[in-house]
């Protein structure tokens, strides 16, 4: 077994375990910190795909921004949830059943697909071509519309979230 396969298995096991802790641990702050570890593991798996840009972006956006946002939100809403008692609802066994069934079903469905055991990479050794990616983003025959729509989506998210999150003093009479 090659070294790279061992690295993959180690990272995958750590990621799955920390993902399991995210959904099952009682304290929400601990869950958020486990989430950071799980996201870091996913970034490492991105790196094993021989890409350069996306693992870095994963750390920058997911850990730097999204995980921080989640931690701040946990701190903001913490007073009522003192993290006592079970953090899972009464139907958790049903949820576990659905998840396990889905996993088994999807693996079974995948195993019938012939492309499963591909080991050759189409990606060049130097990683993805960021210049080509950038050109494709602004190419009129490429992805100009997604590029602009993404910024509009961000604008919409910003406006909506700010509107929801700021306190409206006139209504709280």
């Amino acid at each position: 077994m090659a070294v790279i396969q061992i690295v993959f298995i180690l990272v995958a096991v750590v990621t799955i375990i920390s993902a399991g802790m995210v959904v099952s641990v009682r304290s929400m702050v601990h869950a958020a910190l486990w989430l950071v570890l799980a996201l870091l593991g996913v970034a490492a798996l991105f790196a094993l795909l021989q890409v350069r840009f996306f693992p870095v972006v994963q750390v920058l956006v997911y850990i730097g921004a999204i995980a921080t946002l989640i931690i701040v939100a946990v701190m903001l809403t913490r007073q009522v949830m003192q993290d006592v008692g079970s953090q899972l609802n009464s139907n958790w066994w049903l949820a576990a059943f659905v998840s396990v069934t889905l996993f088994i079903g999807m693996v079974w469905a995948l195993s019938n697909w012939p492309g499963m055991m591909t080991t050759t990479r189409a990606v060049p050794p130097g990683g993805e071509d960021i210049v080509a990616f950038g050109k494709a983003l602004t190419d009129p025959a490429g992805f100009v519309i997604p590029f602009e729509v993404a910024s509009v989506l961000l604008l919409g998210a910003l406006i909506g979230a700010i509107f929801l999150a700021t306190e409206r003093k006139e209504k709280q009479g």
Binding site: A19, A38, A95, L110, T118, F133, A157
Partner: protein, 102 residues
């Protein structure tokens, strides 16, 4: 070398763990964390397919970037909703948010 199947099975597992979190968590922020795990699994899947099979085209990368952006927009608005509900009702437990029940 690592076969594609490892990536696919791993991302399926991560997706199912996230799904369990979404279905079983009481806390609304916990549910959002589950959604984040699911989106990560999807992203890993997309990037794995791109890297193994379609590296000549840029579709996969653009798709991954858009998933990143959608995920962050979703988290921003979702958490803002939770905080807004918390401010009015002092609850973050999803089961108790029953204002719209008929």
């Amino acid at each position: 070398m690592i076969p594609l199947s490892w990536y696919l099975i791993f991302s399926t597992a991560l997706f199912c763990v996230g799904l369990f979190g979404v279905l079983a968590r009481k806390n609304a922020i916990g549910i959002l964390m589950g959604v984040e795990l699911m989106l990560n699994a999807v992203n890993l899947n997309l990037l794995a397919f791109w890297s193994y099979l379609y590296a000549a085209q840029m579709n996969g990368l653009v798709f991954v970037a858009i998933v990143f952006i959608t995920a962050s927009a979703e988290v921003a608005v979702g958490l803002a909703l939770i905080i807004s509900v918390y401010r009015c009702r002092r609850i973050v437990v999803a089961d108790e948010m029953t204002e719209l029940r008929g």
